[in-house]
């Protein structure tokens, strides 16, 4: 067994999964998190429930954190930031700034799980007015309302009677530069749509989409129930702009199913923002010297069957640092990266 620890950077679902796996396999683990708490974006951004099983984010992620922090071979550094790297696989020295001091952590290998951030709707090139109209919000804003059990129009505090989601905001767009699909927003929007219908039964809920991407079981877990049981109205056609009309929002687009232009009034508009590499992911890629793809995510070096190796030996990546990922992807790639990090460490020792 290697005597040097494995470092996991990022304490979200992928990082927790990686740290847990490495601990379970008998390694010493140092988990570095820039925020003051573990749990990552689901906790930081107030997710109400997780897609597709709709269990409370706090409960599910909380249980992960609880189990991990009970490990005796784990050291957690909170409010900590990686500032430099030297050495090579098997003998890395990582500079970590925490609590006003910089400390060097010696480690055998590294797992980067620095995650994503929600696309900033201020950058979208349609005209949805996220920063202009209070009733235009984003997926995570609605999550926070659902978590608080209080979905209201920010403009006047009224309960919405008509609410719509606009899909693919910041994704699949050449103008913005994010040509990729963010993978989870169709499912998340549908999940939130169901939750709104359950919370406010007389609120009509619409989803305007380019195409619904409900891979695998999400189809029957979320999409079909949303349509069949909760009567969420899916309208194929994307919205070109949102305008104020009285105290409502006028949504303009094409109803491609019926083959005609469409204008309709909404009380609230929810932008289904996609995923972008987090600031941490971008910065770490530079510090660690791992290749990024054109979108800034960390490039998996040997796709398709090796999903967690980076361009640099001894450094592995997991979760949404590699690109859009759902929680199951994050848990899986976290565990895979940990196992690979450990085997890399052992191979170096054995060599």
């Amino acid at each position: 067994m290697t005597d040097k620890p494995i470092v996991v950077i990022g304490g979200g679902p992928a990082g927790i999964s990686a740290a847990q796996t490495a601990c379970d396999l008998g390694a010493e683990v140092v988990l570095i998190e820039q925020r003051g708490f573990l749990g990552g974006t689901p906790i930081a951004e107030n997710y109400a429930s997780l897609t597709p099983h709709m269990r409370s984010a706090e409960e599910v992620v909380g249980a992960m954190v609880e189990r991990l922090t009970a490990s005796t071979s784990l050291e957690v550094l909170l409010d900590a930031e990686v500032t430099g790297l030297s050495g090579e696989a098997g003998a890395f020295a990582l500079d970590v700034a925490a609590g006003g001091a910089v400390r060097t952590v010696d480690c055998a290998s590294i797992v980067v799980a620095s995650g994503f951030r929600h696309f900033d709707p201020g950058r979208e090139t349609q005209m949805y007015g996220y920063y202009e109209y209070p009733d235009v919000i984003a997926l995570q804003d609605l999550e926070a309302m659902l978590k608080a059990g209080d979905v209201r129009r920010p403009s006047n505090g009224e309960t919405p009677k008509r609410l719509c989601f606009i899909q693919c905001v910041g994704s699949r767009d050449r103008h913005i530069g994010n040509e990729y699909c963010s993978k989870v927003c169709c499912g998340v929007a549908s999940k939130e749509a169901i939750e709104v219908r359950e919370a406010i039964p007389d609120c009509e809920v619409f989803i305007f989409y380019i195409d619904m991407r409900m891979y695998g079981y999400w189809e029957s877990q979320i999409y079909w129930p949303a349509q069949e049981r909760h009567h969420v109205q899916y309208v194929k056609g994307i919205v070109s702009e949102v305008l104020a009309k009285g105290d409502k929002l006028l949504v303009r687009g094409e109803d491609t199913t019926m083959g005609r232009p469409m204008e309709t009034l909404m009380d609230m508009v929810v932008l289904s923002v996609g995923m972008e590499p987090s600031a941490g992911t971008r910065k770490l890629a530079g510090i660690l010297g791992v290749e990024q793809n054109k979108y800034g995510f960390i490039q998996a070096a040997n796709p398709p069957l090796d999903t967690v190796s980076t361009s640099k030996p001894g450094i592995f990546a997991a979760g949404a640092a590699l690109g859009p990922a759902d929680l199951e992807d994050c848990a899986s790639s976290g565990a895979a990266a940990a196992a690979r990090a450990l085997s890399a460490a052992r191979m170096v020792i054995g060599a």
């Binding site: 009509e204 999409y223 079909w224 349509q227 009567h231 899916y234 309208v235 109803d255 469409m262 204008e263």
Partner: protein
């Protein structure tokens, strides 16, 4: 009834028929949705278009089973009303659209919409069925649809010159057919007395006969007479 304009379109009455009371449209929609078959006919539509791809009517008309399923799924009662004026009569009820991967049955939805249109005596239902008086008469009075003796030399020029040849010795031609049940000229095939009486009972008891009343009063009168008379002979009272 929903108060907001349900629709999603520029015009306030995008579905047409702006003069028709929305309350009436909504009542018809509710009737369609209340039909006990509907839960099996519409689940949700993801617009794959297979129903349009297999639809023979869609090749000849501006007709789309997908739009029918979508309008009902969206509970767009204005649009459903519009479709009850026109689209539903363009369907040939072949049910090719049952290939829907979601298990929807657009043809079945149309069946229900047609029944509501007929029961409500919509003008378009009358119009659509106008040309079919003779067929309705044949089906309801004999239990068979087109009968060989409808093949008159000049009746259906678009059926080709053979019609004329066949119509000359119709009885002989029919006797040349192997199944004896086809040795008929005034019905499509021979229908037993018992079957006919059962059919009359079904037409009368299920309300199928009274559906015709609003559409074609004369036809309804004739059929009712034929059926009542026959049933009376059998000593059956309705």
């Amino acid at each position: 009834m929903p108060t907001a304009t349900p629709a999603h379109y520029k015009n306030d009455s995008p579905a047409g028929f702006p003069d028709v009371d929305p309350g009436y449209k909504h009542r018809l929609f509710e009737q369609v949705m209340a039909d006990h078959r509907m839960p099996d006919y519409i689940y949700g539509c993801y617009e794959c278009g297979i129903c349009v791809a297999v639809c023979p009517s869609a090749r000849f008309y501006d007709f789309s089973p997908r739009r029918i399923a979508q309008a009902v799924a969206r509970q767009d009662f204005e649009l459903v009303f519009q479709q009850m004026q026109e689209d539903i009569w363009e369907c040939s009820q072949c049910f090719s659209c049952l290939r829907c991967p979601r298990g929807n049955n657009p043809g079945g939805i149309i069946t229900v919409m047609r029944e509501v249109a007929i029961n409500e005596g919509l003008a378009t239902a009358k119009q659509a069925l106008e040309g079919y008086s003779r067929i309705i008469y044949k089906i309801m009075s004999t239990g068979t649809q087109v009968s060989p003796d409808m093949l008159q030399p000049d009746a259906f020029p678009d059926w080709g010159p053979e019609v004329k040849d066949v119509s000359v010795n119709l009885d002989l031609w029919r006797r040349a057919l192997p199944p004896e049940t086809h040795h008929t000229t005034s019905t499509g095939w021979s229908v037993s007395e018992r079957t006919l009486i059962e059919l009359y009972l079904i037409w009368m008891q299920t309300g199928a006969l009274s559906m015709i009343k609003d559409v074609d009063e004369g036809l309804h009168m004739i059929l009712e007479e034929v059926m009542e008379e026959r049933l009376e002979e059998e000593g059956i009272e309705i």
